[in-house]
Symmetry: C2
Subunit: 234 residues, 2 copies
Amino acid sequence: MTISIHPIPGIPEVSRGDDLAALLIGAIENGGLGPEHGDVLVVTHKVVSKAEGAVRHLGEDEEADYRQAALDEAVEVLRRRGPMIIARTRHGFICANAGVDRSNAAPSTVVLLPRDPDRSAHGIRMRVREATGIDLAVVVTDTFGRPWRSGLVDVAIGVSGMEAILDLRGTTDQQGRVLEVTEVAIVDEIAAAADLAMGKASGVPAAIVRGLAYPKGEGRATDLVRPADQDMFR
Amino acid sequence: MTISIHPIPGIPEVSRGDDLAALLIGAIENGGLGPEHGDVLVVTHKVVSKAEGAVRHLGEDEEADYRQAALDEAVEVLRRRGPMIIARTRHGFICANAGVDRSNAAPSTVVLLPRDPDRSAHGIRMRVREATGIDLAVVVTDTFGRPWRSGLVDVAIGVSGMEAILDLRGTTDQQGRVLEVTEVAIVDEIAAAADLAMGKASGVPAAIVRGLAYPKGEGRATDLVRPADQDMFR
């Protein structure tokens, strides 16, 4: 099937207490984008965090406070390099500075990860359904580095209305052989695809992925956290 | 910008010596898909490997021969779990079974990675340019697991006609602050996006990503291999 990815421009700067779902719906409707049944609405976590107040103010020594914010968000520090840490967050994600980030933050603040991004996604989804009658899937994203591979990619840290993993176990290939690749991290592929349309510097914090036959369900992004006992690289 | 991802159906089963570029061009034209200037043509490595003869026949003890093929393709084994290894390939990629795979392979064979996937991508690109006058970018993909995160995603293992990494160093965010996320693994995001349209079981081995303002250049997928001295998790 052909898939299209539509950036959603026109979302204003978001602050604590803003009704992010209403801002998203307004921007989608103003852009003539629907929403439509079967859409996936992808939202970068930064606007989610700002709306939820998951922001920390930095004092005079901004660098030190930034470092402290990352340490406070970390439940385990895996590696350090200079001021940067690679840490596990309370959600189980492993990422730079435990997800604490200054880009696109207001002056003298850092943005944290949402407390429960799956719940954030669910909240947006419910509000969209209420306002428009459309039950779409919602994916909340962040930008992560990876071991072994240079460069960063967007991944899912929150999801609602679909499975996080596309389970192909038992599916056969064109030769009738059972597939070896059985569990596709489809929400991470959606996050990556949406980032292509949004761009990092453009200030567009959301996109619609349309035409994808995604697996409906009650998945959570924490389903993507590989249990420690199955992780060969912990 | 709006991006669209078009699967390319109608590519027949590929065997050693087949003219893959001609098969791709034929399928693109038959599908009414162009090609168009600015397209990225994404091809799963499996058809590339088959056309190039990067295939190994298994003897009577298929399991043992499969394991041996993986060991032969590995330059370093990082982990073992049962019969499966996580290994570094000669290209520098770290993946399961050094990229050796039985899914969508002919009976009693395994498919290896192309010897030089960047060169493979370049060859396809040159043939498309020759035949159609269109200079598109080409990305060759495989499906990799990741440490820490469950599920697999498609990534780039070969590229031609574009940079592998979108370099945003020095770019500022909406507040004028220099971005912290500076190097986006854009070809990996393209690979992931294309996989959404192709699907694992459908036998569609290629897709066109259209509408993306990608960074033209002479990047290589091996640019994505993080040098060992910069890798905190080797």
